[in-house]
């Protein structure tokens, strides 16, 4: 009984802290419609800052609390809203999710940068009033910290409810979500209210972090702390991001069950610690499964800022061929480490292809692509390798089996997807990813089930050899590079074909309006299930290739944060395009690596400026997240910008010849070792970016000379008469190839011109 009471109180306090974090999510979601994935990261940052003030610099606790909770945390929330989240109105769910994930990864990188995790002195975080402050209630001894936590949670629950129901500002905060414009017409200030709510949400996150950290008692780690508060997502979901009482109940259930698992599971169950860690994620998954059905949307067509063009099949073939040639040319001049990095980048690009298929084509979200890769790798390790030692090879059948198994697991995860969309699905996949990391990839011991002995993630690391397919052995690095490049091209072109097929059009239709699709007689369920399976299989194949490139992989290779970063960068690259996936792989692996090496090389070469260059080395870790955050401004992705720039090159033959000629010259100089590889990289970037830019300017200036100021299309015919060019442009825009409009006399005189 004594134990039970003790653990119940502990569980209530933990649940209380979860509730505080979850209520912050509810507050920001209620007022801005953005689910803040960065909530955990804000809590983490607050914990580190508080530690710095309290123990790093020895401030008294009240001062440190005032500084963190009263000033810094609300300020961070307000700034986040003003600088980042405000721009997200009218963007798709994917963009909203990606931007807040970007903030999360950014804050995490920042914390690792400032508070070096490999520092020699461990950072100790203590309970309020020190580790020995106990209250004696009857026969129980309870730390004051625990009592304080639970009391604060209850106070906050009542406080928020009062705010949202009994104060005009609180009601107005709810009104902002319904219709910010209408609130403005009422005389309210929606922007200010949303900013205040973000400040409040950030405050709650910080408070939760400071309360939870000493309850866990482990050393402070940026990743673990971020994920810890993510456990609160389950509680927020239980309250469907609206109801505070239900959120409170959900949080208590999570807090209590996790502490009871610690208390009552027999210690010989070696998996109970992993189970304890993954419990909130299991809870989240179940909550999402039983959540009442989301209504099919479709009554209003959402006007989104995202725009994706569909590439033609011809373009896809040309691009594929070009890519193979480019890879070959790069291989010739690259050092061995360079080839390794490029191959790894391509394997990540293949995994990113699964995201393009799922999110770009079908509008569904998967935040745990690498977890599917992990499953495929485990299948290959156990069933897909022939030979031993240096002669071991991954078999084709092994890869295919892995693809099938991941597809089936994908189908299982897609179960909630059949009913859920957007945010809820994203959370379900994230729960799956964290579950795989915490429960499956920690399965290192031998288990016995019905007399069958097996280990899942043997010894914490799996060795995956290169594949041998038929007579072709891809063991050599160059051969494997071409295999990966070829695989990317084949899957990529396949996806473009798919996009052009009836199936692809059905996917787009489903993405735009599931309700309309269903009324047209499509089986939305079959579509969703099939696309999820296909996507999971591609992620699995990519994961196997990644493992085969690395050689021996451990659990860190499939980290949820890596999955999130890959998803984010793919969205940055352009989630609607195959090239967006390539961008993601190259950027996340090769570009960051190259930038790092280049900066370190500079630091060595120019030792007087070493500090500055090493600063930039750290800054590079924050770079991907920073780029993710900017998505709010251009939701169609960077590739779409690059493509727009390239259009200039396409339109002018002379410019195209200049660019290709220069590039060839640079390549020849590098191949003959006249210039170094670094100069090749710099010159190539200059050639691909600066030449079209300058050339475009010159061409534009030349074209503009003698041409009058353009007349907006709606004024043509009013301000000046229609010309042949206008009619031709109109025909092109309306897809009326060769239609001759007979009313214009000039057209009638020269019919050849009109159809040109």
């Amino acid at each position: 009984m004594q134990t039970f009471l003790q653990y119940t109180i502990l569980g209530l306090a933990l649940g209380g802290a979860y509730f505080i974090a979850a209520s912050g999510l509810v507050v920001t979601y209620t007022t801005s419609g953005i689910f803040n994935f960065a909530q955990g990261a804000i809590a983490m940052l607050a914990v580190f800052t508080y530690w710095q003030f309290r123990w790093g610099w020895g401030w008294p606790a009240p001062l440190a609390l005032l500084m963190v909770l009263g000033i810094l945390a609300p300020l961070l929330g307000a700034v986040l809203y003003q600088v980042v989240m405000k721009n997200l109105r009218g963007t798709s769910e994917v963009t909203k999710i990606i931007v807040s994930i970007g903030v999360m990864l950014g804050l995490q990188a920042l914390a690792t940068w400032v508070w070096n995790p490999t520092s020699s002195t461990p950072r100790q975080f203590q309970k309020f009033f020190g580790p020995k402050a106990f209250a004696h209630v009857g026969s129980l001894t309870i730390p004051w910290h625990i009592i304080i936590s639970f009391a604060i949670a209850i106070a906050i629950a009542f406080g928020i409810r009062f705010l949202f129901v009994r104060t005009r500002s609180g009601v107005a905060m709810r009104a902002v979500v319904d219709d910010p414009e209408l609130l403005q017409l009422n005389g309210g200030r929606p922007e200010r209210l949303a900013m205040i709510s973000w400040a409040g949400g950030s405050f709650l996150a910080a408070l939760a972090g400071i309360l939870i950290q000493p309850m866990i008692g482990s050393a402070m780690s940026a990743g673990a702390l971020t994920l810890l508060v993510i456990d609160a997502f389950a509680a927020a979901m239980f309250g469907r991001l609206r109801s505070l009482p239900r959120t409170f109940m959900g949080a208590l259930v999570i807090g209590l069950t996790t502490t009871y698992v610690v208390a009552y599971f027999p210690s010989k169950w070696t998996w109970s610690s992993a189970f304890h860690n993954s419990l909130p994620m299991i809870f989240l998954f179940i909550v999402l499964l039983v959540l009442p059905q989301d209504r099919l949307r479709g009554a209003t067509v959402l006007r989104l800022r995202e725009r994706f063009r569909m590439p033609s099949i011809r373009t896809a073939w040309i691009a594929g061929l070009t890519m193979m040639i480019v890879v070959f040319c790069l291989k010739v001049i690259m050092a061995k480490t360079g080839v390794n990095t490029l191959t790894l980048a391509l394997t990540f690009a293949i995994i990113a292809l699964s995201l393009v298929l799922l999110t770009g084509f079908a509008g569904e979200i998967n935040l745990a692509a690498l977890s599917f890769g992990a499953i495929a790798v485990m299948v290959v390790y156990h069933f897909g390798i022939s030979g031993t030692g240096a002669g071991a090879r991954t078999t084709l059948w092994g890869i295919l089996l892995a693809a099938v198994v991941t597809a089936l697991v994908g189908a299982l995860i897609a179960l909630p997807a059949l009913r859920l969309r957007g945010l809820y699905l994203a959370l379900a996949t994230m729960a799956f990813g964290v579950f795989v990391s915490r429960m499956v990839l920690t399965e290192r011991n031998e288990r016995e089930l019905f007399g069958w002995k097996f280990t899942i993630f043997t010894a914490g690391q799996l060795t995956i050899p290169r594949p041998k397919i038929g007579p072709i052995d891809f063991n050599g690095q160059d051969a494997f590079l071409f295999l990966c490049a070829g695989l990317f091209v084949v899957i990529g072109i396949g996806m473009v074909y798919l996009r052009h097929s009836g199936y692809g059009r059905r996917l787009t239709a489903m993405k735009d309006s599931p309700a309309a699709s269903a009324t047209l007689g499509m089986s939305v369920i079959r579509l969703k299930l099939s696309i999820f399976m296909m996507s999971a299989a591609i992620a699995g194949i990519g994961g196997v290739m990644m493992a085969a490139q690395v050689g021996t992989v451990n659990a860190d290779r499939f980290d949820i944060f890596l999955s999130l970063a890959l998803m984010m960068i793919t969205v940055v690259g352009g989630i609607g395009y195959v090239s967006g996936a390539l961008f993601a792989g190259i950027f996340l692996i090769a570009f960051i690596e190259a930038l790092n090496l280049l900066l370190k090389k500079f630091a060595v070469d120019y030792s007087t400026l070493e500090a500055i260059f090493m600063f930039f080395v750290s800054a590079v870790t924050v770079l991907p997240a920073t780029i993710g955050i900017t998505m709010g401004k251009n939701p169609s992705g960077a590739v779409s910008d690059i493509v727009d720039g390239m259009n200039l090159v396409k339109q002018s033959k002379s410019l195209m010849i200049t660019v290709i000629g220069l590039e060839a010259a640079i390549w020849v100089l590098t191949a003959t070792e006249v210039i170094t590889n670094w100069n090749f990289v710099i010159l190539t970037l200059a050639n691909l970016i600066l030449v079209p830019m300058i050339g475009g300017k010159i061409l534009m200036a030349r074209a503009m000379r003698g041409v009058p100021k353009p007349v907006p299309p709606e004024f043509i015919g009013i301000d000046r008469p229609f010309t042949d060019e206008d009619l031709a442009a109109m025909d092109q825009a309306l897809n009326l190839d060769g239609v001759v409009i007979p009313s214009s006399t000039t057209v009638r005189e020269e019919p050849a011109n009109a159809s040109a």
């Binding site: 009601v171 107005a172 219709d179 609130l183 403005q184 005389g187 301000d719």
Partner: protein
């Protein structure tokens, strides 16, 4: 181009103008949709904006309410230029706008909806008193979520705000949208009453008949221009031309 501008009609409306638009141009992105609007709403009168879909009626109201900034020209309120003022600032100084088709917050209760109206400076008790007296049905449903009420009841709720905040200017956008004719007639009766209390009203409508019964002046909007201003009687003939083409 000149045939679509009617600058000379600018003076046709008599009385001291409370709302005045002078050569107002407005654009969505790069596409200009209002090409120089001149319009006055005299104090205490009802001015109807008539015209087909996409003519620019709602855009004119958006510009006046402060939701859309004009790219050129002046918007005047009681003689002062209010270009650049935000919608919430204008709302707090006595401009009440009922936007098209969605004048309520669906996830707030009736009472909470009325509470939002108090930002213009009236107390909640006063707003509730006026609203429930005029629409007893709202009083019965004060704790119901506005989104769960019928279209007519929702429009009552938005009208209740217009009645209770005591505005000097009322902007109504497509009041009749999606409502039964009887409800529409009822609503316009209220509009007429409000106008008799000295409120200046600018109302846009596709269905001209009902609104012409209470409007002192009407302006025909076509392709982003005001093509004609006059009393309802003067405009009878031209209306059909505006809708059906001559």
């Amino acid at each position: 181009m000149s045939e679509v501008h009617y600058h000379e009609d600018h003076g046709a409306v008599a009385g001291a103008p409370l709302v005045e638009l002078v050569d107002v141009r407005a654009a969505y992105g790069t596409i200009e949709v209002l090409h120089g609007i001149n319009l006055s709403v005299p104090q205490g009168s009802v001015v109807a904006l008539l015209g087909p879909n996409g003519a620019g009626k709602s855009t004119i109201l958006k510009v006046v309410s402060g939701l859309l900034q004009p790219t050129a020209g002046e918007v005047r309120l009681a003689g002062r230029v209010v270009n650049g003022a935000s919608a919430d600032e204008l709302a707090r100084i006595g401009l009440c706008t009922i936007p098209e088709g969605r004048g309520v917050f669906p996830n707030l209760t009736v009472r909470e909806n009325l509470w939002m109206a108090t930002m213009a400076g009236v107390s909640l008790a006063e707003v509730e008193e006026i609203a429930y007296a005029r629409f007893p049905r709202l009083g019965e449903r004060r704790k119901q979520l506005a989104g769960t009420m019928s279209g007519g009841e929702q429009q009552m709720l938005s009208m209740a705000r217009a009645l209770s905040v005591n505005p000097s200017v009322l902007l109504l956008d497509e009041l009749s949208m999606g409502l039964a004719p009887l409800v529409v007639a009822n609503l316009y009766e209220i509009v007429a009453q409000v106008s008799q209390e000295g409120v200046s009203i600018l109302v846009s409508e596709q269905f001209a008949r009902t609104v012409l019964g209470i409007a002192q002046y009407a302006a025909i909007v076509l392709h982003g221009n005001i093509t004609r201003v006059g009393t309802p009687a003067e405009l009878e003939d031209e209306l059909s031309a505006a809708y059906l083409g001559s």
